[in-house]
Amino acid sequence: MSFADSKGLLAAKPAPLSRFAGLMRRMHIDGPLLGGLILISCFGLFILYSAVGESNRLLMNQAVRLGLAFVAMLVAAQLPPDFLRRWTPWGYLAGLVLLALVLVAGDVGQGARRWLDLGIRFQPSEAMKLGVPMMAAWYLHDRQLPPRFGQLLTIALMIAVPTVLIARQPDLGTALLIAASGVIVVILAGMSFRLIVGMGLLAVPGALALWSIMKDYQKQRVLTLLDPDSDPLGAGYNIIQSKIAIGSGGLFGKGWTNGSQAHLEFLPERDTDFIFAVLGEEFGLLGVLTLLVLYMFVIGRGLYIAVQAQDAYSRLLAGSISLTFLVYVFVNTAMVTGLIPVVGVPLPLVSFGGTSMVTLMAGFGILMSIHSHRKLLPH
């Protein structure tokens, strides 16, 4: 594609096949990335239809949200990286103000204060999923890389402030993911492995500190992971039922809409956080691998775009967006298969729900923008 791109740009007149390719280029759309995302979304809708109990209404609901998310992607793709970079600090500061507002005046739902109602209801933490890596990339883009220790401390502060604000909502899952997206920027920027290992070692007392500030239900989730059978009807129920669903699916699965675990309501949160178990039950290992291959393709394309990017800001941001997507996929699938504690992370583009999908697709729009706004260089 990049070859075709450069050929198209070098050639005075458009290549014969390329009325379509030309349109894509004018729209700043990356074909392979879009193709991968559309495939995942369609597969997701297919699974979701079964998971929501074959409800056409809920399916349409999700399709509309997906449409909105693709629009968000298109809009983001039109914004040149330079423009994004210039506005990054202001956007970041606005995000911090909104996060602080949430803690003061947010709407409460399910024991947490995550929503802000300023005419439209939204979660400022969603915006920070992009805001934090953008801020980290902005800070590093004109500095000599790898970053020095003092600079790392500055970035750590930039990451820590929104993370703590979000953790206070409380929304530990999102807070950790946002922190991860910032840390990924630093790692990609060349932070020395010695420091990474050192930080890893520091994670042990850090984890202990985290344990001490965790709420009881969060501690319970960790304990339940270690021994789900200790509380089979309580906190361990989700993990046990999800493992039964996936395991009973076998290699080929029970067939679409035939999953007894999902359809007889044994599987909790089957249309949101645990939808991966529905996939495992009804489509078996083959279905699960298909989805994982699609995810890997999208991540791989994202990393390729990052490598092709022409300035530090673009490549750090593109790398962080791609790898954060990987973190989402890994955390959700590892949680549903009982490898890590239950944290409320949806399976991207498949789980029912709209807000996080819009952010996600906006991120992919930025990737496309980075790729399509490159300037031609000699090499």
Binding site: D142, R143, Q144, L145, P146, I184, I187, L188, A189, G190, Q241, K243, I244, A245, I246, G247, S248, G249, G250, L251, G255, N258, S260, Q261, H263, L264, E265, F266, G280, E281, G284, L285, V288, L289, L292, Y295, M296, I299, G300, L303, A306, V307, A312, R315, L316, G319, L323, L326, V329, F330, T333, A334, T337, G338, L339
Partner: protein
């Protein structure tokens, strides 16, 4: 800011970045590899285990109650059956406004307004898909009324179920008993596997004693249920792939009684507005032909369930309708024991057939001025043993009682089955009392009370004093007199029939130790005397028996309820109704080949020969084929 930084080396930065991306990609592949390995572990390695767990999750075993065996009379007429009844149910999750729905049902008089809080509580407590029973049995009128209104009551409907029904409930209540809802005591006693799904169990009578035959065994049905236990309808058949086979319930066996429903209905009608009991049996094998205790009750009330007020009325009635007088009522047998005592006297040599006594209306023990009065104040004049039975002369028996002695009297009466449980095949039977010196020693504390007095022997000879017998015992004794001493254990069940194969197991009559009398001549004389009671020139019950188209024998009895002081005039009119004498009668027929023996007790009926004897006669007429009674 940018000026302060060292010059950026774009090439080395980019190389560093590419190295980091490659490292990240390796980490990404490793992480996803871990997830894939986990998936292989769950879906391939442990697939069997999880498939089984998923199956166990959704399949629930539900017990299916067996159909209770039917009860028939000796001619195959239904005594207890199972009929569909409709009950009103409410499914909480289908009702949007429980308060409003219940109030409107109360407006239609389908439920009582004071029960509304209870139903609200019930519909809140259980799973929301589990129906709450609002009313157990709807009348046809209620069904019709509700059917019209049904669209206004989403979530409320009537459901059929099988309810035990006794078509002639009142007539058979004390013999057949009834079923009632299982209570916590029953659950401790019964095998939970057999009773899974069962709601009712036999509480009294045959329903209780033949419970194990009538009940059958529970079967099992496999249901697909969701996580909350709600049953999933079978049209989601795609989830049904490998459901285990169901096990059908084994229906209960049918029970055939030796009871003749016609006799039972007749006896019930004859005892209407009376208190007492009638027991008729076949002396040749001990089969009970009729067993009635009056007043009776409707056993269907127990099967369907009744209100507290209804139960309180039954339980609190002074006539104790729930009390089974036929097997539990203990009455002084009065003169009905005279034929048995006569045999004892002959056998022990206390008297002979020719000895005569001059009855002057009373008897006095030597060295005593206490007068033991005859029922006939002016006396019977000269009487021999035959006359003494025919006319029921008390003085003759007062006199010979001193020669027989209380212990010999006890021995012979016990051989006729008095003083011990007969062992009938329903529960709750009483043993009665046949006193003796030993009995008195065992049953009294006080030393003076433990002594046996001669006067007690005197009144025992006419079946008064300590002596008590149940109507069932008297019927069995009458049977033993009829067969000249052959004695069978009374029983109600003639056969048990397997409901599936139709194979019948007959109940073999159990012969008990015979009453041994040395000379058949004695039997002839005593039975002839009993025959004359009914059909002789001076028999006490000749008014009842003289025009019968068959030969019969009988003996009346009148038992004092209150003792009467010396020389006090006996004025029946002034005695409270409930203190009047009990009327008793035993009889059997026909003489040459007895087929039926009957004992009748009418509480406070005053005269055995005029009140109890006609009841016995009507029953024998009916059974022997001379009945002109239209029973139904």
């Amino acid at each position: 800011m940018a000026l302060l930084s060292p010059i950026k080396d774009h090439h080395s930065e980019r190389r560093l970045f590419v190295r980091r991306v490659i490292a990240s990609a390796v980490v990404a592949i490793l992480l996803l590899g871990v997830v894939i390995a986990r998936l292989v572990q769950l879906q391939i390695v442990h697939h069997e285990l999880f498939a089984e767990k998923a199956q166990g999750n959704r399949v629930r075993i539900e017990p299916v109650a067996p159909i209770r065996g039917l009860i028939f009379d000796r001619k195959g007429r239904v005594i207890a059956e199972n009929l569909p009844a409709y009950q009103l149910e409410l499914v909480p999750e289908q009702v949007s406004d429980i308060d409003d729905t219940l109030n409107r049902l109360a407006d239609l008089d389908l439920i009582a307004r004071e029960d509304i809080p209870r139903f609200k509580e019930l519909s809140r407590s259980g799973p929301r898909f589990r129906p709450v029973t609002l009313k157990v049995r709807l009348t046809e009128e209620e069904i019709a009324n509700f059917a019209i209104q049904r669209p206004r009551f989403p979530g409320v409907d009537f459901k059929p179920r099988l309810v035990r029904h006794y078509p002639d409930g009142k007539a058979v209540a004390h013999a057949v008993g009834y079923v009632g809802a299982l209570n916590s005591d029953d659950l401790l006693r019964l095998d939970p596997a057999r009773y899974a799904g069962t709601s009712h169990t036999g509480k009294t009578g045959i329903e209780s004693s033949y419970e194990s035959d009538l009940h059958g065994a529970a079967g099992y049905r496999h249901l697909i249920t969701n996580a909350r236990g709600r049953q999933i309808p079978f049209d989601s058949a795609k989830l049904l792939d490998s459901l285990p086979m169901d096990e059908k319930p084994a229906p209960g066996s049918n029970v055939y009684l030796s009871i003749d429903l016609d006799l039972q209905l007749l006896a019930t009608r004859l005892m209407e507005n009376r208190r007492g009991a009638v027991v008729a049996l076949d002396p040749r094998n001990g089969e009970i032909l009729a067993l009635v205790s009056a007043p009776s009750f409707d056993p269907n009330l127990f099967a369907v369930g009744m209100s507290t007020a209804q139960y309180a009325e039954l339980e609190g009635s002074p006539d104790v309708p729930l009390f089974n007088r036929a097997v539990r009522g203990r009455y002084p047998p009065g003169s009905t024991i005279k034929p048995m005592l006569a045999l004892a006297a002959l056998e022990t040599g206390a008297t002979n057939l020719t000895r005569k006594t001059f009855c002057i209306g009373y008897f006095m023990l030597p060295n005593s001025t206490h007068r033991y009065r005859d029922w006939k104040p002016e006396g019977h004049g000269p009487v021999d043993l035959h006359d003494a039975i025919e006319q029921s002369c008390d003085v003759y028996f007062y006199e010979i009682s001193q020669e027989i002695g209380i212990d010999s009297m006890h021995d012979y009466l016990v051989r006729f089955g008095l003083g011990n449980q007969t062992g009938i095949d329903i529960g709750g039977e009483q043993a009665g009392v046949v006193p003796s010196r030993e009995w008195k020693r065992d049953n009294f504390r006080n030393r003076d009370d433990q002594r046996w007095y001669h006067g007690e022997t005197v009144i025992a000879s006419i079946g008064q004093g300590f002596m008590l017998a149940t109507p069932l015992q008297l019927a069995a004794a009458a049977g033993a007199l009829a067969t000249r001493g052959e004695h069978f254990r009374p029983h109600l069940v003639a056969a048990v029939e397997d409901a599936l194969s139709g194979e019948r197991t007959l109940v073999t009559p159990e012969q008990l130790a015979s009453v041994e009398i040395s000379s058949s001549f004695y039997w002839d004389n005593i039975i002839s005397a009993m025959h004359d009671v009914m059909q002789g020139p001076r028999g006490t019950a000749r008014a009842v028996g003289f025009n019968a188209p068959y030969t019969m024998a009988g003996k009346s009895g009148t038992a004092q309820v209150v003792s009467i002081a010396q020389d006090e005039e006996y004025d029946e009119e002034e005695i409270e109704e409930r203190q009047r004498d009990h009327a008793l009668f035993i009889s059997f027929a026909p003489l040459d080949e007895p087929r039926i023996a009957v004992a009748v007790i009418v509480e406070n009926g005053r005269s055995g020969s005029t009140v109890a004897a006609p009841v016995a006669k009507a029953i024998m007429d009916q059974y022997l084929g001379y009945g002109d009674n239209v029973v139904r």
